[in-house]
């Protein structure tokens, strides 16, 4: 069951939550809506579910226009950030709710709920109340409840947002395995890029009510469409300069930029990820920057160095592989040369 969102706009008072947003979700895929808070991702999810009504635009499930359909008739499974379990019902009754309101026969309800409780591995707790469960268990119950009526699409709003780091990690892997088993078209909202990249088939990056980029995790990571995406992905160093005649110049840093072969200079910004910078003891021509090591943080798989580049007056974040760190014998206060391996340049009509 595919989902198509066409030109959807939504305002709350004077706040424009979504402006002409279009998104395609292929049947059977798992898609993440990723963005900072206020980017409109949750509003988009709620419009897909029917919990909010779009001011304009259409929502299709496969070929069926559901823009004006009531929530209860859409047959969506929705998992809420704070679980929204019915606290006066046992785990069993929570999961059975969607079947009971559909008047499933008693025996089939029992079978289906049993099946789901086994799936989420909580069959032993069928008689417990939500208040007696841990956060992770509650979220699994919420998921089982959403899946019970065999929904056409599964929508999850920050599903792991309220959980602690370790449980998050476990649950997101579990969600991926679960999706591989049941293959229901799923969309989830998150502000955590690691979560989006680890779990989703495709990621939709949103900002200020717009879609900034859509693609597989790999496409987005390797070819960020614009400075916002680049910056949002994080661990990035920013250089301001200009391009002229096919070259980008920022202080002593110079790289090719063939897309602008013209004579008249234009402001531009260069981005380099921290793991795409090399540290050298000696300068290697024009594209390395002199700097002084301010701080070293050697705990972790890579050593994180903070290098002050006097030319730019900025601090660069550099990830140094452990063996390279040992080889160079870096100390705080050393003067080093930093060379970018990969630079992405954007003309400055994009403002972050």
């Amino acid at each position: 069951m595919s989902i198509t969102v066409k030109q959807v706009s939504k305002s709350f008072g004077s706040f424009r939550a979504l402006e002409h947003v279009s998104v395609e979700v292929a049947g059977g895929s798992l898609v993440a809506l990723l963005g900072p808070s206020g980017s409109g991702k949750t509003t988009l999810l709620r419009i897909i579910a029917g919990l909010e009504v779009a001011d304009s635009g259409t929502v299709l499930y496969e070929d069926e226009d559901v823009t004006d359909a009531a929530v209860k008739d859409r047959n969506v499974g929705f998992v809420f950030q704070h679980y929204a379990l019915f606290r006066h019902m046992t785990v069993f009754e929570n999961v059975a709710f969607g079947l009971r309101v559909r008047r499933w026969p008693r025996k089939r309800v029992k079978e289906r709920v049993g099946e789901l409780l086994r799936l989420i591995q909580l069959d032993a707790l069928a008689g417990s109340y939500p208040s007696q469960l841990s956060g992770g268990q509650r979220q699994r119950v919420a998921l089982a409840r959403a899946l019970a009526p065999e929904p056409k699409v599964l929508l999850l709003d920050e599903p792991f947002g309220a959980l602690d780091a370790k449980v998050r990690q476990e649950l997101r892997q579990w969600l991926r395995r679960l999706h591989d088993e049941i293959h229901v078209t799923s969309v989830f909202v998150t502000h955590d890029q690691e979560e989006a990249f680890e779990v989703a088939d495709r990621v939709v990056i949103m900002n200020h009510g717009h879609v900034e980029q859509t693609g597989t995790p790999r496409e987005i990571f390797e070819r960020p469409a614009n400075p916002f995406v680049m910056d949002f992905l994080g661990n990035v160093n920013v250089f301001h300069g200009h391009v002229v005649r096919g070259r980008m110049k920022a202080g002593s840093l110079e790289v090719d930029y063939p897309a602008h072969p013209h004579d008249e200079p234009r402001p531009a910004t260069a981005f380099v990820r921290s793991h795409e910078l090399d540290i050298l003891r000696t300068p290697n021509g024009r594209s390395s920057l002199e700097g002084k090591i301010m701080h070293l943080s050697p705990a972790g798989p890579v050593v994180k160095a903070r290098v002050f580049a006097a030319d730019f007056g900025i601090v660069l974040n550099v990830d140094v592989p452990r063996d390279r760190y040992a080889e160079l014998g870096l100390e705080v206060g050393d003067t080093v040369y930093v060379a970018p391996r990969d630079v992405r340049v954007y003309l400055q009509d994009y403002i972050i």
Partner: protein, 292 residues
């Protein structure tokens, strides 16, 4: 464009809303508004002059008003001191039996006013435990003002304490501990730190306590002895005038008590608005602090 009502899962259909609002207004109208209006219509039915004459021309009614204005403030003052002491002890310290004590403070609410009057008759009445001794010393408590004060204090006992205890627990002791560590004496601490924080809650408790104290009927009925002009409070006067088929007189006194109720409600509503605004303001300041 679609109508939001159609798909918003939390809103009810328009006809349901209209029907329920109409039903609720009907309930409030019949149960509360009509009786309230009726008090004043009956009281002023024969004109303002007659109303004034009914109130001022009757020495016994005057005496009843004076008695209520004597008894209620005394009961109020006693319960005010108690309320502050109880709230201080319960909200600022932990001790064995604290929960039980909190529950016991509410006890008078579940005692019928008639029983509340009766227990004082059993102690201070002529045949009561202390009756002979009081008689020997020529002291009167029952069928006299002290009995009225006792009965009124009993029935209004929990009002101020139960308003202050949750308030002071919510505020917490941090400011007071800070003041104490800066060397404030007990009285300075109370007057300069505690009192400013609880003053609106205190006013709230006082007006509710006062409304009940001035309006109490059952308990004072039992201890008063109905000596016209001596032990009739305003509510007792209403009943006596009613029994004497002096309906205009009864409604005139009742209208004063109803006005008191309206003033109480107005102050209560204003305080609740203020509290809500203060809470919103505090929340706003907190969120700005977070953003900064």
């Amino acid at each position: 464009m679609s109508t939001p009502e159609k798909t918003n899962p939390r809103s009810d259909p328009r006809w349901v809303r209209v029907a329920l609002i109409a039903a609720a207004l009907g309930v409030i109208g019949v149960l509360i508004v009509i009786p309230l209006v009726d008090v004043f219509v009956e009281a002023f039915g024969r004109g303002l002059g007659a109303y004034w004459q009914t109130l001022t021309g009757d020495a016994d009614t005057q005496a009843a008003i004076r008695l209520t204005l004597t008894v209620a403030p005394i009961a109020l003052a006693l319960n005010l001191i108690f309320g502050i002491a109880a709230a201080w002890a319960i909200s600022r310290f932990r001790f064995p039996g604290r929960t039980l004590l909190t529950a016991l403070i509410d006890l008078p609410f579940s005692v019928s006013p008639v029983v509340a009057g009766l227990i004082f008759v059993l102690i201070f009445g002529l045949q009561g435990y202390l009756g002979p001794w009081l008689r020997a010393h020529d002291w009167r408590i029952i069928f006299a003002t002290p009995g009225l004060v006792l009965a009124t204090t009993f029935v209004t006992f929990p009002f101020i304490a139960r308003e202050l205890i949750p308030l002071m627990e919510a505020i917490g002791a941090d400011e007071e501990i800070a003041a104490a560590s800066l060397g404030a004496s007990g009285w300075q601490l109370f007057r300069r730190v505690t009192l400013p924080n609880i003053k609106w809650g205190l006013v709230y408790g006082i007006i509710l306590c006062n409304a009940r104290a001035m309006g109490e009927f059952g308990a004072v009925y039992v201890v008063s002895g109905h000596i016209t002009g001596r032990t009739d409070t305003m509510p007792l006067r209403v009943e006596k005038l009613f029994q004497e088929y002096n309906t205009p007189g009864a409604f005139a006194v009742a209208s004063l008590l109803a006005s008191l109720a309206l003033v109480t409600l107005a102050v209560k509503t204003a305080l609740e608005w203020k509290t809500r605004r203060d809470l919103a303001e505090a929340a706003r300041l907190r969120s700005e602090g977070d953003a900064a």
